[in-house]
Point group: C2
Chain length 207, copies 2
């Protein structure tokens, strides 16, 4: 029993590795059960002994991508704080650094980024609890500077505002990287994001 369970864990790990490689190189739409089975050297049906469906496998890779993004944003926030200044200046700088850190993540890890945001769970399935906890942890990076800029905000309002600001940054990163409305080289896109996010920060501070 212990041996069978260890083999399952090993297969699980290999499948996640193989799926991650595919998502990084070609995106989550390129994920095919047959190719995965070949890659890890298992029978097609064996995949479904460790994952209920390919969606669960995408979620397992997304959990790693979330951790990577969260670590990147954590470093951005730390670097922004290390520059010093008064708490409000640090908070404003942190918001800009987080938005541009997100831009960097999207630009460097396109496949992971698309899998995080374009992937849809099959109808009726909800995100698992641990994913929601990961999201909450990610948004803590944003909530910290918001606490400084709007100390009067209730906790759930701050959580909501953090998500709204993230969505706004996501829109700029999305349309900016796709060159949808305007073709901007990355450094100019960074400047635009800084311009808009710093305006938001100042506006929040003043309210």
């Amino acid at each position: 029993m212990a041996k069978a369970s260890a083999r399952r864990e090993e297969l699980r790990g290999k499948l996640i590795e193989a799926a991650e490689k595919t998502i990084v190189a070609q995106g989550h739409t390129a994920l095919k059960a047959r190719a995965l089975a070949e890659e890890v050297g298992c029978a097609l049906g064996a995949i479904y002994t460790v994952f209920p469906d390919l969606a669960a496998l995408v979620l397992a890779v997304n959990a790693r991508s979330f951790a990577l993004l969260s670590a990147m944003l954590g470093r951005e926030a730390e670097a922004a704080a290390a520059e010093g200044g008064n708490p409000r200046a640090i908070a404003n700088r942190t918001l800009i650094a987080l938005a541009n850190g997100y831009l960097d993540f999207a630009a460097e890890h396109g496949g992971r980024w698309h899998a995080l945001f374009d992937f849809r769970l099959p109808d009726g399935q909800d995100l698992p609890e641990d994913h929601l906890r990961q999201q909450d942890a990610l948004f803590q990076h944003l909530e910290a500077p918001l606490t400084v800029l709007q100390p009067g905000l209730a906790r759930d309002e701050r959580a909501l505002l953090a998500r709204s600001l993230f969505s706004a940054a996501h829109g700029m990163v999305l349309l900016g990287l796709e060159g949808k409305l305007v073709q901007l080289p990355l450094p100019y896109l960074r400047e635009q994001i800084a311009l808009v996010v710093s305006a938001m920060g100042r506006g929040l501070e003043g309210s």
Copy 2:
């Protein structure tokens, strides 16, 4: 000759109508040449005598959707101005009204909205000139209040900032309507958008 040209125009009009109906009801990915030919009662090949490909047909529908969106935003801007107040108060109110007008468009015209933003031209094709002119006209709605809030901004910087603010609103509308990060009923989503956009407006004004 004139008769043949009139027939071509008629077929063109019918195809756009049929494509529009499909896009509104099922989205642009549901557009199929065979079904369109059946719907308008022409031979499959006849489609390609008036449109080079289905992408051109999506663009023709998108031109109408752009006009609809632009008219909606124009009405929002007018209503915001009609409430009166000083120019800066009007400009701030206008930015919020435009963002929420965009939310309304996306919520009411999901198929059109997706065709505008998810549709990709075949590789190597650029948006036609008249689409770029339509985009410029749309962004005029945003540039007008920005001229009031940041009178010192050069024209091309203002054009860029209008697109960045639009992208930020797009992100909030996109993730908000998809319920990706948080499940918010529409009225709360409107409030969040107003909160973030008004912060941006105040921040721009103060800078």
